[in-house]
């Protein structure tokens, strides 16, 4: 396997060829190449054996995160509307590092976050007597509660359960007819909002046809000619007088900027979540092959340390370790499904008789690692970690200060690079077999009379599919790759959701009332 994931040290440090054509992009690229490659050349060649130059300095990062968790200096006022994110970046980073919080701290996290919950539904960027509910803090708050909360009064999960209808109402307030969502009252529309909403609606059992109407088309039309996704799309009212109520003839859509790692992550993950939902002709397809191609092309060369860039011809940045790296297992699963669908189509042409049973599918022969998981780990350990004995924390690139956001996104990417995460159709099937439709919380009340599921049977089928697929991610332990030795091993984050599997399972089971 290592033949397909060569170390940076085994590759020549070749600069981007200039083609004798200088430009601003080339200048910036060369500056970054020299900054990163000089850092690498100072170090002896590391291997997958233990090596003190590529140690993940877990204690220093824990110190860094702790230093801001209980008190932030005044300059953090620029993040005063992102306090749920400060919490999420910290508790999720600690989770990945395997650092346990004491119960007193967990209780403080839960009580702080519950202050962000608006009585009208949704979480705000700070206390709800100061700020409006917003889709992004709602994701960060709910995931933080998944990590630090429990069932029982004051422990967070019961309060979330009691807020389900109000959160749903808030989501419907954000909804637009073209399938987009405003992030808050009067706010912007982009795929970050869609992603955050879909994760929460999936986890809390809030999905309805009216909430999902056109959401798939919104996501699909953010995909650009490059294969990655842009922040948003514009729905031009169709000039055609003929509009069918089945299709999407009401709009002609165009993506609203170039492909970008953060928005590609949100879009791929949204599409994946939508793909579990059993609605007819849903979700609208995306071009999976070009999404995969775009993603792997964002990985930088050895001279840039093998990190990911977020856009074509931009600079590598540690935060894309998660945004781009974390999307690749999702692409891999979507590609696999596409292949199955195609081969199934071929088969059916030949074998007319006999119904194929989905259960007969076996998980396929493993594909080679689709991105260079060794090089990404080397980038994170050597270029993104702050130097030993410094402040701790992880950063964009050498020369930049570390922060909670880059720490969390580098560590999440490190987890994805170490662990081989697969979405297993056999696990999904066994989840479906286990699903008990007699157990569940009361269905949320849709806004419009016919906005809900058409029958209880349909609703239960949707719940089953969504729950079974959310819990379908497993680690292929034979595919583990640890640069710098076993001590560097971090916990396994779940693609799509970006919380640990051991957090996801009890949390979603609580809201679907399913047994462990």
């Amino acid at each position: 396997m290592l033949a397909y994931t060569p170390s940076i040290y085994s590759l020549p440090p070749t600069a981007l060829p200039t083609n004798s054509h200088p430009s601003a992009t080339l200048d910036e690229q060369q500056e970054t190449e020299s900054l990163i490659s000089s850092l690498f050349s100072l170090l002896p060649s590391p291997t997958t054996e233990s090596d003190d130059k590529t140690v993940l300095r877990k204690n220093e990062h824990t110190q860094f995160l702790a230093s801001t968790f209980f008190k932030l200096p005044g300059k953090f006022v620029s993040l005063d509307a992102s306090r749920p994110w400060l919490i999420f970046w910290t508790v999720h980073s600690l989770d990945i590092l395997g650092v346990a919080l004491d119960q007193g701290t967990k209780d403080r996290v839960v009580s702080t976050i519950l202050k962000f919950l608006a009585p009208t539904g949704g979480f705000a960027g700070g206390p709800s007597n100061s700020q409006l509910p917003h889709l992004l803090p709602t994701y960060a708050s709910v995931c933080s509660l998944a990590i630090t909360g429990h069932p029982g009064p004051g422990r967070g999960w019961d309060e979330l359960r009691d807020a389900r209808q109000s959160i749903y109402n808030f989501f419907m307030d954000c909804k637009r007819d073209d399938g987009g969502f405003v992030v808050c009252k009067g706010g912007e529309v982009d795929v970050r909002g869609t992603y955050c909403l879909l994760v929460v609606a999936t986890l809390l059992d809030l999905l309805t046809p009216e909430l999902l109407h056109n959401v798939d088309k919104f996501i699909t039309s953010c995909q650009t000619y490059e294969g990655g996704f842009a922040c948003s799309q514009f729905a031009f009212p169709s000039t055609s007088a003929l509009t069918s109520d089945e299709g999407d003839n009401e709009y002609t859509r165009a993506s609203m900027a170039e492909a970008h790692g953060g928005y590609t992550s949100c879009s791929l993950n949204s599409h994946f979540l939508l793909s579990s939902i059993p609605l007819p002709n849903f979700p609208a397809t995306i071009d999976v092959d070009s999404a995969l191609r775009w993603s792997v092309l964002q990985q930088g060369e050895s001279i840039e340390g093998g990190g990911f860039r977020g856009r074509t011809n931009k600079l590598v940045d540690g935060c894309y370790s998660w945004w781009v790296g974390g999307g690749i297992p999702v692409c891999e699963e979507l590609v696999k499904r596409q292949k199955k669908a195609r081969s199934k189509g071929k088969k059916n042409k030949i074998e007319v008789i006999g119904e194929e049973k989905e259960e007969d599918w076996v998980d396929e022969i493993p594909t080679p690692p689709l991105f260079n998981r060794v090089a990404l780990q080397e980038f994170i350990l050597i270029a993104a970690q702050v130097e030993a004995g410094g402040s701790g924390g992880l950063r964009d690139k050498p020369g930049k200060r570390p922060d909670q956001y880059h720490t969390c996104n580098n560590l999440s990417g490190l987890s994805i690079a170490q662990h081989s995460m697969k979405h297993s159709s056999s696990v999904v099937q066994s989840n479906k077999d286990k699903f008990d439709p007699t157990k569940g919380l009361p269905p949320v009340k849709p806004r419009s009379a016919n906005g809900g599921w058409t029958s209880e049977e349909e609703r239960q089928n949707a719940r089953k599919e969504v729950w079974a697929n959310a819990l379908g991610w497993i680690e292929d332990e034979s595919g583990e790759i640890l640069v710098g030795g076993k001590e560097n091993r971090v916990n396994t984050t779940t693609p799509v959701f970006n919380i640990l599997g051991l957090r996801l399972k009890p949390f979603i089971n609580y809201f679907y009332c399913q047994e462990e």
Partner: protein, 338 residues
């Protein structure tokens, strides 16, 4: 810590605020991630909570929101309140736009600044959006890849197009401007994305009708100018995929970058009709260019020459693009499976 600077007069001591009872932030006991606010910020927010609770729409509310936004430009709640207040008071929104110009100069390029601007333009709704377009062109000069600005430019043209206010001249001038951006930096992928919008994605774009050949020419010339420019390769591939065109017919323009003794029959390129590399390649253009090999392999696949395509992917995996060895190996296996 109640007062940060000696010149600062707390709102409680200002007559204009005497009738308002400030409301403290409700953080609960012992919150995590508490921010040690400056005296000014805490003071302003205490009064903001009070006026927001009373839904007060007033001049002093506007001043207060500006004070807060200057300290924290990401405060979406305060932005929302400001916009609602501007509309309720029927303020002159052109003045507000001026203020936003100043904010952008101070490089406060948050999501909120740009979204506020979008709402302002929606409400002002000028008959001719060219002043705003010129403003955007200027603000991209020092920061030619600012994502927010480009997304806003896409929105501006789209929105005013639906209102029927983008003249043919404006579309034409915009393309000229975009080509100048690409002439200055042909690697600026944001500008390539804008070209795609202007030439392909927008309603009534010409490329779908008779402008396709010139567009392919444009992409090929860009490759010939900077053969290692991923933006240009992606644009070319994007065109071919979008219009469901074959890759093979353009191979004569691509093969010089593959440095491979190709299995392609060497046809005369006399009747080729597309731009070929002009004479010798630019200096510092090591061959093969990996994306040219990828193009060749995909063209071979399209011709049904799976075995040969697989060999090219294998070459990429083991020799010419080792960083992506796993991905190219995956592409190779696909050739074998099919």
């Amino acid at each position: 810590m109640s007062v940060a600077t000696s010149s600062y007069i707390p709102l409680v001591d200002r007559s204009v605020w005497h009738d308002v009872k400030p409301i403290a932030q409700d953080d609960g006991p012992n919150p995590v991630v508490p921010i040690m606010y400056s005296g000014e910020y805490r003071d302003a927010m205490d009064y903001f909570r009070a006026i927001a609770a009373a839904e007060e729409r007033s001049e002093r509310a506007l001043e207060l929101t500006e004070t807060i936004i200057r300290m924290n430009p990401a405060h979406y709640t305060v932005w929302q309140y400001r916009m609602a207040t501007l509309l309720a008071l029927q303020k002159n929104l052109d003045d507000e736009l001026q203020l936003m110009n100043e904010f952008a100069v101070q490089n406060l390029k948050s999501y909120q600044v740009w979204h506020h601007r979008l709402l302002l333009l929606t409400h002002i709704s000028p008959e001719d959006p060219s002043v705003e377009i010129e403003y955007l062109h200027r603000s991209l000069l020092p920061d030619p890849k600012n994502y927010h600005t480009w997304a806003y430019l896409h929105w501006l043209y789209s929105h005013f197009h639906t209102l029927g206010r983008i003249s043919d001249q404006l579309w034409h001038d915009e393309l000229t401007w975009c080509e100048e951006m690409l002439r200055v930096d042909g690697r600026n992928n944001s500008a390539w994305g804008w070209r795609w919008y202007l030439r392909v994605a927008r309603p009534d774009a010409e490329t779908g009708k008779d402008g396709l050949k010139p567009e392919l020419d444009y992409a090929l010339r860009a490759i010939h100018l900077i053969p290692h420019n991923v933006s240009a390769w992606n644009y070319l591939r994007g065109l071919l995929r979008h219009f469901k065109l074959l890759l093979t017919p353009l191979l004569p323009a691509i093969l010089p970058y593959t440095a491979q003794a190709s299995s392609q029959p060497t046809e005369s390129t006399d009747n080729f009709g597309f731009p070929l590399p002009p004479g010798p390649l630019p200096n510092d253009t090591p061959l093969p260019v990996p994306l040219a090999l990828e193009y060749l392999a995909d063209a071979l696949l399209e011709q049904g020459s799976n075995g040969e395509a697989g060999e090219v992917f294998a070459d990429l995996s083991s020799n010419y693009d080792r960083m992506r060895a796993g991905y190219w190996e995956y592409r190779r296996r696909e050739c074998v499976e099919q």
